[in-house]
């Protein structure tokens, strides 16, 4: 029988990660440099790497994949660099400037700043055309649409070379008649133009969010369309059996067509698979409360899963653009291995947010970087192997790290080298801990109820220190940590969000019937979509949620409700779910108060069969390292002791005193090989530091279970 694969390709800022799951239970991780100028180039390079490693052709791999999955940053990059398409906006007259007015305030962090920069407009004012029309909150048409205004707008757009049009009217969400008619007219007059209609893309209340979401979508759609066409074609030519699935910021997969039409779902897909991956690696341990932390070269991403449910954001500012559609909640800080330590003019030690990036990189990379970074501190503290990373193939220069820390931090502060390095470590950890608090404590979750899952190449050195600071007792570090997001993508399901809005009080049978009808309506559309993609009744799941609030409140909260029929009898169940959620989020509920519904959302999942999970043999067998960094089973090995490849002095306290601690070769550890810290585990793509007071047990599922000693 031929080998079967599943391939995940996750483009990151510096590296594109490739994860190949083999039906033998082996999971392989490869990395190639990202190629932002021609994103498909990195895919070709990576496939060439895999092909060389496996000794087969790229097309043999692709044609034997049940699925090829791609997480892309083309949308994100276009938004960061403001290199999207030329957009025309058609909106209600009198409201042309909503994307300019925004929330009217100086955004977070800018309140003292006379010099704060205005946000770059995705549609310049001269391409925002107001149409005389007005629908009011009841859905009644207050002012009929003046169709000549739409025609004039189209003529203007044609003359200006507009490539993509967004339509968004006030209250279109209750009565989309005007938007639909305007869309017809645009299709008519501007055939071939990419069109985004606010009430279709994001049928939810709040005109600014809806317009901004539609504009962002329009801005990215032509770019995603082109990218998807190139990738789809490339894989088709290599003999892919199924269309490529793309990873979305909502944490699920989508086919290329959906990605082209709903491009705004693509913008932050990179870290969005972390919760899925975190849950997956925690499953063997029965843990469903998971915080994932992912430290890369320049940034630190945090996600949270409670009771198996991922925190989702709706209606947030992303890169200063308001985005309504659901996105996995990711808190990102400027803290990474490359974060630079510096002393401010008043003598305080600061870490980041500036980063040495990949080039010149930390001082220890020896590429000319002179600034002391987190990686340099970790090297001085003994956490990183002075012989180099990636199994020694990436050399590190400890003397350069020492020199940078000594001259820039230790001497100016009058500290020893070791104390300065530990200080850098402490402060960057403290920044990360404050970030973890923001996503946990501040949102009503006690971090002590959670497991900390380690993702990203640089996190392992900090993971027990972070857990200690947060009061978390259990840490899980997958051997695949540095490619965990790519792994998360290949175990994800297809996921589409469908929305509707119907503001009403939740009080009688009629309101219940109306909600049920609306759900059925949007779900029918979703089911048809998934069936066309080959899913069947058995493989389609539906999750319902309602945005609810107490009458008189301004903010609503999203409440997951079960899949029961909503009618007069089950209405109390719906209300109860809301009261409970409100208590969780805000500490109180008001059971005597009337409840109203604002928005309705159905999430449809097309369940994808999971690849065979990784498997680690028990510790009596010893795994022998291969040249390519992977390993195979060698029966009759010699036990835990053989896995210790060296000892190193490690520093775990502010006084700078070192403890001589063992260094384990991760590839030689088998399931059940328990040991206690202090220790270091070296995997090919990551290094894990175990502080004193913590113990490690490699688990058959391919993860290290690290627990605090009682």
């Amino acid at each position: 029988m031929r080998t079967k694969y599943r391939l995940g390709i996750d483009a990151g800022g510096t590296f594109t990660d490739f994860v190949l799951a083999v039906d033998t239970g082996e999971v392989k991780l490869y990395k190639s440099l990202s190629t932002p100028a021609g994103p498909t180039k990195a895919i070709e390079n990576g496939l060439a790497l895999i092909a060389a490693d496996l000794g087969v052709s790229a097309s043999e791999i692709v044609s034997n994949c049940d699925l090829c999955i791609n997480g892309t940053t083309v949308g994100l990059n276009a938004l960061i660099q403001h290199k999207g398409a030329k957009v025309g906006l058609i909106c209600t007259a009198g409201h042309e400037d909503s994307i300019e007015i925004r929330l009217g305030h100086k955004e977070d962090g800018y309140r003292y700043d006379p010099e704060y920069p205005a946000a770059v407009m995705l549609v310049p004012r001269y391409l925002r055309k107001g149409i005389r029309e007005r629908v009011i909150s009841t859905g009644a048409i207050h002012t009929p649409m003046v169709e000549d205004d739409v025609r004039a707008a189209c003529r203007h757009f044609l003359a200006e070379g507009v490539e993509t049009v967004a339509i968004s009217f006030v209250w279109s969400v209750i009565n989309p008649a005007h938007e639909r008619r305007a869309a017809e007219m645009v299709r008519d007059m501007m055939p071939g133009t990419v069109l985004t209609v606010g009430s279709e893309l994001y049928p939810q209340i709040r005109e600014y969010t809806r317009t901004s979401t539609a504009v962002t979508n329009a801005y990215l759609a032509p770019i995603l369309r082109k990218y998807v066409a190139a990738v789809d074609t490339y894989f088709r030519q290599l003999g892919a059996k199924n269309p490529v699935r793309y990873f979305q910021s909502n944490g699920g997969l989508a086919v290329g067509q959906v990605m082209s039409d709903r491009s705004v779902y693509a913008i932050n897909s990179g870290p969005a698979s972390a919760p899925q991956a975190g849950l997956f690696v925690c499953e063997p341990f029965g843990k469903k409360n998971v915080i994932t932390v992912d430290m890369g070269g320049t940034s630190f991403d945090i996600t949270l899963v409670k009771d198996g449910v991922t925190n989702i954001n709706k209606n947030i500012d992303f890169l200063r653009y308001r985005i309504g559609v659901p996105m996995i909640q990711v808190e990102t800080l400027g803290a990474g291995g490359g974060s630079i330590g510096w002393i401010d003019s008043m003598g305080l030690l600061q870490m980041g947010p500036q980063s040495a990036g990949a080039s010149p990189g930390p001082a220890c990379y020896g590429q000319g970087g002179a600034e002391p970074t987190v990686s340099d501190a970790n090297l001085v503290l003994g956490y990183l192997n002075p012989g180099g990373l990636l199994g020694g193939t990436f050399p590190l220069d400890k003397s350069k790290a020492e020199a940078a820390i000594r001259t820039r931090i230790a001497e100016p502060l009058g500290l020893t080298l070791e104390r300065a390095a530990y200080g850098m470590f402490t402060i960057v950890n403290s920044n990360m801990v404050n970030g973890i608090r923001r996503v946990s404590v501040e949102r009503g979750y006690d971090p002590r109820d959670f497991v900390l899952v380690c993702a990203g190449g640089a996190t392992g050195a900090h993971i027990t220190a972070l857990a200690r600071e947060m009061g978390i007792d259990t840490v899980i570090v997958p051997k695949l940590a540095s490619g965990l997001c790519a792994y998360g993508q290949i175990i994800s399901d297809v996921k589409y969000n469908y929305m509707a809005t119907s503001p009403m009080r939740l009080e009688d049978e009629a309101s219940a019937v109306k909600i049920e009808q609306l759900f059925r309506q949007i779900e029918a559309g979703g089911i048809a979509h998934l069936e066309a993609d080959g899913f069947t009744h058995e493989t389609i799941d539906i999750k319902r949620s309602l945005d609810m609030r107490y009458v008189g409140q301004v903010h609503e909260c999203t409440v997951d409700i079960g899949n029961f029929v909503i009618d007069g009898q089950s209405l109390d169940q719906v209300k109860e779910a809301f009261h409970k959620r409100h208590e969780e989020l805000y500490t109180y509920s008001e059971r005597h108060n009337a409840v109203e519904i604002v928005n309705i959302e159905a999430t449809l999942f097309g369940r994808v069969e999971k690849p065979k999970p990784q498997h680690l043999d028990t510790g009596t067998a010893i795994r022998k390292s291969l040249k390519n960094g992977w390993s195979k089973l060698v029966p009759g090995g010699g036990g835990l002791k053989d896995a210790i490849k060296a000892t190193r002095p490690l520093i775990f306290s502010a006084d700078g005193k070192a403890i001589e601690a063992p260094v384990y070769d991760g590839s030689r550890l088998g399931a059940g090989d328990k040991f206690a810290g202090p220790a270091v585990i070296e995997e090919v793509t990551t290094t894990i530091v175990i502080e004193p007071g913590w113990s490690v047990e490699p688990h058959a599922s391919g993860s290290y279970l690290i627990t605090r000693d009682v």
């Binding site: 400037d97 309140r111 209340i205 005109e207 903010h555």
Partner: protein, 598 residues
């Protein structure tokens, strides 16, 4: 007072622990602010985030503050000092919770109610956890806002160190009293509960911090952090040449006597690394509510001005802990009986327009010596509208709306359009949300098109127009200013535009009535449209030096007309080939600009 607080300072804390404790303090303040805005009911707190929260030591020094509206937090030490006049420190017990809003005992103004809880650690009072939030209605003479009222008793409920909880026991009679004396009890009571929860959280987290690092270490760290911020600000002040810097402007009127303008005079006396803001020469106190509480608002505005001007966080890489240290180098003087330091019982609720102008005039005064930091004249005002009415069932509805204005041109960029400038930083309300609950239709919410922003090398920001149409009869009160004295230009830049307020009926849109910036309790009928136009900022630098391409863009984007491009900027345009746009007449522009001396 705790013994420790008077004990000689211990040895300095190492810079690493200092940084960790500083980060933890900031994180606590952020959490307090988040709890407050997430739990509150009214849109002014929840959506606009018109609130502040922080921790204070037993000497009322600000240790940390939430990143919310700057006005609120700088005012809390004033509240604490005001409370002490009635309730000495020795009277505080664990579990107490006090509310306070008295304008003559340190409050910022009466709608900003503070909730204060003591922080005890090892049986000693070590400080306070406190927050303020703007309440929709405290039972004043007119719904939501007041202007032309006889005295402070018309402001509504005034609390002076009033206990909501005594040693953890809830004072039900007090809660009932408040509930019975506001027009919108469901909002106000919910908001108060949120404030209590936020203060409780601050107490708990502060105690945890003290337990983790030890009281002596934490308190020593807070002293060092305050010294640190103070030293940073003093260092910047020291760079300004010593001298007296003066700027003057005027306010429209006091809300009663129309046509009589009120002078505002700012003298910045800079000596060494300290500075005094002297407001002598400004108008005497008003007979209306148009006065500024000295402790809670006048001083705060001056603190803000120097923090923003000299330690702008966008241009400074360094993190600046926000604490008492930024207040210390600034001394504020205003004669008793003046608009900035009124004498009770005159009302002092409507104070924001005045202090915005103080900040703007401080910038103007220092412009000659800080050309690299100052801006041209900002809108420096406030548009605070209270819309209200009575529903068919007899319940009141009250909605407070804050409208954005604009900033002046800046040393390196245009003034931002439609933004909450200077001391304010609240958020707007989603129109569809309002439409669901209030009998209002928003006809227009866009950039002004009736005036042009102040010309300059860097032009002023453009103001906003917001038109709200009443679907049922109601009331409007409006607190604003700057219908008379336009934002100035600087270094060759030209003036911006004044604001205006118009009311007309949707059926007779041509029959427009103009209103002054301040009026109270105006009755409006079904179909009446209340349209506010905010001022536009002044320009920075000679408009003839503005790149012609940017002038062209402003024409294409309808910020300015082709005629204005020619008159104000010396830029000539010709119709573009596609018939929908304009193109630059480069040769003509060069010639015209040369003729004008550039």
């Amino acid at each position: 007072m705790s013994k420790d607080m008077n004990a000689p300072a211990m040895a300095p804390i190492d810079p690493i622990s200092l940084q960790v404790i500083g980060g933890a303090l900031h994180s606590i303040a952020e959490q307090m602010g988040n709890v407050l805005h997430r739990m509150s009911y009214s849109s002014i707190i929840r959506e606009s985030q018109d609130l502040g929260a922080g921790l204070f030591d037993a000497q009322f020094n600000t240790l940390c503050e939430s990143d919310s509206t700057p006005m609120h937090i700088g005012s809390l030490p004033g509240y604490l000092r005001g409370i002490e006049k009635t309730m000495p420190l020795s009277e505080w017990k664990p579990g107490d919770c006090v509310i306070h809003n008295h304008p003559y005992f340190g409050a910022s103004h009466s709608p900003d109610i503070a909730v204060v809880m003591p922080v005890f650690f090892e049986s000693e009072l070590v400080g306070f956890s406190a927050n303020t939030a703007h309440h929709v209605d405290i039972g004043a003479a007119t719904p939501g806002l007041i202007m032309d009222v006889p005295d402070m008793f018309a402001e509504g409920m005034l609390f002076n160190a009033t206990k909501l909880y005594e040693e953890g026991k809830r004072s039900d009679s007090m809660w009932r009293y408040i509930s019975n004396n506001t027009r919108v009890p469901s909002l106000v009571m919910g908001d108060l509960e949120a404030q209590v929860a936020s203060a409780e959280l601050g107490v708990k987290r502060f105690q945890e911090l003290l337990a983790t690092y030890g009281k002596a270490t934490v308190l020593q760290a807070t002293r060092q952090l305050m010294d640190y911020t103070e030293a940073m600000l003093r260092r910047e002040i020291a760079k300004i040449p010593d001298g007296d810097y003066v700027a003057e402007g005027f306010l429209d009127d006091d809300g009663r006597t129309r046509g009589k303008t009120l002078p505002v005079k700012v003298t910045v006396k800079k000596r060494g690394d300290g500075v005094e803001v002297d407001l002598t020469g400004s108008a005497p106190q008003s007979p209306t509510a148009f006065n500024v509480p000295f402790e809670g608002s006048t001083k705060v505005a001056c603190y803000f001005a120097f923090r923003a001007l000299l330690l702008d966080t966008y241009t400074h890489d360094e993190h600046i802990p926000q604490n008492e240290g930024s207040f210390r180098p600034v001394k504020v003087t205003a004669p008793l009986g003046s608009i900035f330091n009124p004498i009770a019982p005159v009302a002092a609720e409507a104070r924001f327009c005045q202090i915005q102008r103080v900040v703007d005039l401080i910038i103007k005064a220092l412009a000659p010596v800080l050309p690299d930091k100052c801006t041209a004249g900002n809108a420096a005002t406030l548009s605070f509208a209270a819309f209200s009415g009575v529903r068919p069932n007899g319940d009141y509805w009250v909605f407070l709306e804050v409208n954005e204005a604009a900033m002046g041109g800046r040393p390196r960029s245009d003034g931002p359009d439609t933004v909450e400038e200077l001391m304010r930083n609240t958020r707007n309300n989603p129109l569809e949300d309002l439409g669901m609950h209030l009998p209002l239709i928003c006809d227009r919410y866009e950039l002004r098109d009736d005036v042009m922003p102040g010309p300059g090398k860097f032009r002023g920001g453009q103001g906003v127009v917001k038109s709200q149409r009443f679907l049922t009869p109601g009331f409007v009160t409006h607190e604003s200013d700057r219908h008379e004295d336009a934002p100035w230009g600087v270094f060759g830049g030209k003036v911006g535009a004044v604001g205006k307020y118009e009311i007309y009926n949707a059926k007779t849109p041509k029959d427009v009535k103009s209103y002054p910036a301040k009026f109270s309790g105006l009755r409006v009928s079904e179909g009446d449209v209340a349209a506010y136009y905010s001022p536009s900022g002044g320009g920075y630098g000679n408009p003839l030096e503005r790149p012609a391409e940017q002038v062209l863009e402003d024409v294409l984007d309808d910020f300015i007309t082709p005629e204005h491009a020619k008159d104000a900027y010396g830029v000539l345009l010709v119709p573009a080939h596609n018939g929908y746009a304009w193109a630059l007449d480069a040769a003509g522009t060069t010639a015209l600009r040369a003729a004008r001396g550039i």
